[in-house]
Symmetry: C2
Subunit: 353 residues, 2 copies
């Protein structure tokens, strides 16, 4: 006897991809059909967005208030974009007036902004920027790697044209896949390019077909997706949907406030002064006076098996960074971090003797 017919694995995989697509649409709060996961990490998604949206010689504007804007500028430069940056000190964000001034001056085809600046701990306000980009006929690209799921974001309502994140932040899935979505307006620009994108692997027309987003009945072999990573991405999106996006936003916000208050009551200073611009997923603490920040992070790792980072890019030497996101965003974890941090501050003072 032959075994009973089973579901065709190719159907299974396209069902999983289809579930991933729905999960991302929910997480991003978008109806874009051009929504899928890039086979790579957040950087790959950043490169995918830029190399599709920009043609050589076109003007690009990136908002640099930490490492991610620098990297976006580097990527746009490599593919021949005319790159302009608007730069703010680490820990600071841009006003809509500053953004409008820069859009008006540089007339970019693409404006890059980081929602959750994990190197500085800034949660950038998004309201009104999408409308400004529309007014200046510019695509609005937002990096939400460190923020999505942990802070409110509404892709469609806020007029975001391209949005991406990574699998290993709030989603808590292993790194290796990166959710991304393109608005109709972004697709229109991309699909009327005069030149091919420099990357075959990241070419949106291939990816759109691979993910069944182009309406064509059959899929052409593009690349071999990281299937096991897709399974875990699907599951992580299901976990988020189960909790509910608003609940997740609220939990992250409450836990962050609890954490921030406790840190200040310990005499530590938060790096981001404006309360509303504090990222709920990554807390930046001003590197405390009288300490070498490396002593603190090493002590915590060795003694408490806890990884707290120093700064990244422009914030190196200025801050300690604590990431509490997804399932790790809980009061119990905050209490654990606080206890460990108190212990570290006792042991690592330079004048301890």
């Amino acid at each position: 006897m032959l075994p009973p017919p089973i579901t065709h694995p190719i159907f299974c995989m396209s069902q999983i991809m289809s579930d991933i697509k729905s999960g991302i649409q929910y997480m991003f709060q978008t109806r874009n059909s051009m929504t899928f996961a890039v086979s790579g990490t957040g950087h790959t998604a950043m490169e995918c967005a830029i190399c599709n949206a920009v043609e050589p010689g076109e003007s690009v504007l990136t908002a640099v208030n930490g490492i991610w804007g620098e990297r976006a500028a580097d990527m746009a430069d490599r593919i021949g974009g005319r790159v302009n940056t608007m730069v703010a000190a680490p820990g600071v964000f841009f006003t809509n007036a500053e953004i409008e001034q820069a859009l008006s001056k540089h007339r970019p085809v693409l404006f890059f902004l980081t929602h959750g600046e994990s190197s500085t701990g800034v949660l950038h306000p998004l309201e009104g920027i999408g409308q400004l980009c529309l007014k200046y006929n510019c695509l609005f690209l937002v990096d939400s790697v460190a923020s999505i799921g942990g802070a409110p974001l509404h892709m469609d309502r806020q007029g975001i044209d391209i949005l991406y994140t990574g699998s290993q932040k709030v989603l808590n899935a292993p790194p290796g896949t990166a959710p991304i979505s393109f608005s109709e307006r972004a697709c229109q620009k991309i699909f009327s390019r005069r030149t091919k994108p420099v990357s075959f692997c990241l070419d949106l027309s291939w990816l759109a077909n691979y993910w069944g987003c182009d309406g064509k009945p059959s899929r052409v072999y593009h690349h071999t997706g990281p299937v096991t990573a897709f399974y875990s991405l699907r599951e992580s999106l299901a976990v988020l949907a189960e909790e509910g996006l608003e609940n997740s936003w609220e939990r992250h916000q409450k836990v962050a406030e609890y954490f921030h208050t406790a840190l200040e009551s310990m005499g530590l200073k938060l790096f981001v002064k404006e309360k509303n611009a504090r990222l709920p997923t990554v807390t930046t603490i001003v590197a405390p006076h009288g300490y070498d920040w490396k002593d603190i992070t090493s002590y915590l790792m060795k003694t408490h098996n806890l990884e707290i980072s120093g700064g990244l890019g422009p914030s190196v030497g200025l801050v300690l960074r604590v990431g509490l996101m997804g399932c790790n965003s809980s009061k119990a974890n905050v209490d654990m971090v606080l206890a460990a941090l108190k212990d570290a501050l006792k042991h690592c003072h330079k004048n301890k003797m």
Copy 2:
């Protein structure tokens, strides 16, 4: 009491990366220190090789005897290479005289060749080509995605300058990482580029530092590697080393010969005529007369839960393809495939009635 100090996870990860590097050096038979795994699949490694080795305006030659040469040509074209191809019918390989003629005519900086042409079933001879590339001051780039570990290849002795593969073929690890290695000569060209590579994610100078291949004492954050995929890649390389490379080559060869003989005795024809140029990992069978090849593959999937493919790229409609690689290359699996194939041929004949 505090828990006892444990090994620093960053040390653990760099040890795993270091093990991966050694495993790839063994699998590739190379002493190149510039050896690591790209965070992506085989296509990403192909793009990594080309976008680092070629600058805009430089001449590139790709040998096209199946889909991979076409894709390499596409990638080189996208980054502004002057691309020439030498084209052979699917199922055929190039002689060294033909290759020398093309090298002499086009004077490329990079010559691309596929060792295991999985779309056509051709195992391309490699002897003497490295020397020809050296003679014409050209880098020799070889795609061994479908062949490495399943057929003899000696990167250093055969004068291969850039070699890559994928994790999910003979290695049997999940897809998502791609071993790659660069010779000293390749590094010299790449590190004296006048322009930056178009991709930040695939820029060799960043990847070299990320993988500790550049001799610098500290590593700068580049991207978040797919850590769980790295664990499985390390394990798959350990499994290969445990069997021994020569033993693995021999096993694949014997199983392939056993399979090929049985197919011919069933009256089927092998697509690759030259015995020595038959890929031991992917067998191509001439699509049998009197059948629609799609009926056969669907029947096998539905009834036997066995995935046998049709052609890919230039071989579509011409062949059936059977992949037996890594742990799947065994006589028991061949017997299972043969039984299923016999059953399919009985049921799928167009004039069955």
